[in-house]
Symmetry: C2
Subunit: 287 residues, 2 copies
């Protein structure tokens, strides 16, 4: 926490948003702008959609232009930043670093080895060493994260709550291995664990098992659980669910989604709650 | 262990083989017959192939004919049995129990809830309560299990051995959750964990990630690890690899397979070793 800063209100000075793909970065930009705080939007080329930011001033950077970005932030007197949005896992060779970036490369060469946690925590450490304060998106805009309790009108039953607790325990047990931020429980067992394939592919796989009758779901059965790993750095690597997650869960025949309250991004809560009701799913944040 | 019995030689009296699908049950039957020991083959309808047993006497049973099977075993004076081979996970309703089986059904209604471990250990307990001694296939025929060291000429490197140790640790950490007897490690991380989809589907998924360039494998990278869960009952639920596993691993672009020595069925070691050499894979048992 920066002295004088306030978690919910963000930093006192202007904030830099390093924006990847998806709806969350523009949503965060709108929230900060609505507050009247200054924001410097650094849109990453190829993933961030500049159109999504309306009239907000915005600069596009390639990943290889890290050096220019840092120079620009310093010139603008910006000390606080938040990184948000989908980022392709780049190959080290594809970065095409500009001259101003080259001096930082030996640092990243190391970070590129190891799991995602390793890479991302390397990025945070790097910015901190350059004198920046890295904030989490939920610190800047708590309204983007899942609250405790249900979105929409469906609530988990006590029996479902037991299954969910087992799912969270599983995710915790996987934490030391830097893997598994989501799992699906059904038919009194764990039927899928997420690794490199991603949450959507995992959901589709379970839907396929159901369709081929290798997995039988009774009423209210089939739960996606999602939570950060024990040591996951929520400043740069917050798990997220969105409208597509709900649609996929419905298509697979599952009953609902349980996530760790405050630790998973959901974007617009009202939109997601309406969609949950429409699809007949529960979507609940567990404290 | 039965008094007077010897692990490697099997029981003193005749042995009943409750045979599911695949090559292992006929292989075990041949080994026992070659020893000159008596064997009673109970082939499960729909999964066991009666042709695979040559001239050996054999009776076919539906799963719902458990009562008849037990009566037949008692009449034949058989006290020892081994269960081996692929079995579909039946729905409780599809059993169509005959009259002689009905009296056992309340017992199994309970066992059908919970994970695979729960169901299988229920089956073992059931036979034990009926007075039978349940043997593991590797106790009866140790030659069916993976030995320590490589099959074929490729050996794991020290670097690969470290990755493999991490994979075994993962499987151990998942044990309390009754899930995950296999995983794939690549690119300095865990890229897939097996749950309800089975080993082959997990391998195919990683092959797909490689093909879509979401996962990059360098030379010697990509290892399937397979081992029983910590409390897995090796008498009825031994993990297995076979020729198809090797072919799938090759097709996915992986470097090899590491399994717990003595705890994973491999069938014919010589055949598998030749195939490993032909495909350029390592297949190694780790003590």
């Amino acid at each position: 926490m920066k002295p004088g800063g306030d978690a919910a209100a963000g930093p006192a000075g202007p904030l830099a948003l390093i924006a990847g793909g998806g709806d969350y970065p523009p949503a965060l930009a709108r929230i900060v702008t609505r507050r009247g705080s200054g924001i410097f939007i650094a849109a990453i080329e190829g993933v961030a959609d500049p159109q999504a930011y309306g009239d907000a001033p915005l600069t596009v950077y390639r990943l290889g232009q890290l050096g220019s970005l840092i120079d620009d932030l310093r010139r603008a007197g910006i000390a606080d930043l938040v990184m948000l949005g989908a980022l392709p896992r780049p190959s080290f060779g594809s970065l095409r670093p500009e001259l101003a970036t080259l001096r930082y490369m030996p640092y990243f060469a190391k970070a590129f080895r190891g799991g995602d946690d390793h890479l991302l925590s390397g990025v945070v450490r790097f910015f901190e060493q350059q004198g920046f304060q890295v904030h989490g998106p939920a610190d800047i805009a708590p309204e983007l994260a899942m609250p405790a309790g249900p979105l929409g009108r469906h609530r988990v039953t006590p029996a479902q709550r037991e299954v969910i607790a087992r799912g969270f325990s599983l995710i915790e047990a996987l934490s030391p291995f830097d893997v598994g931020q989501a799992a699906i429980l059904a038919d009194h067992r764990i039927v899928a664990i997420e690794a490199a394939e991603g949450t959507d592919a995992m959901i589709a796989r379970v839907g396929d098992l159901v369709q081929r009758r290798r997995l039988k779901l009774s009423d209210g059965d089939g739960i996606l659980v999602k939570a950060p790993k024990a040591k996951q750095d929520l400043r740069v690597d917050m798990p997220a669910i969105g409208q597509q997650t709900l649609r996929n869960v419905k298509a697979a025949g599952l009953a609902g989604i349980a996530v760790r309250a405050g630790q998973v991004l959901v974007g617009d809560r009202a939109v997601l709650g309406r969609l949950a009701d429409e699809l007949g799913l529960f979507v609940e944040g567990i404290a």
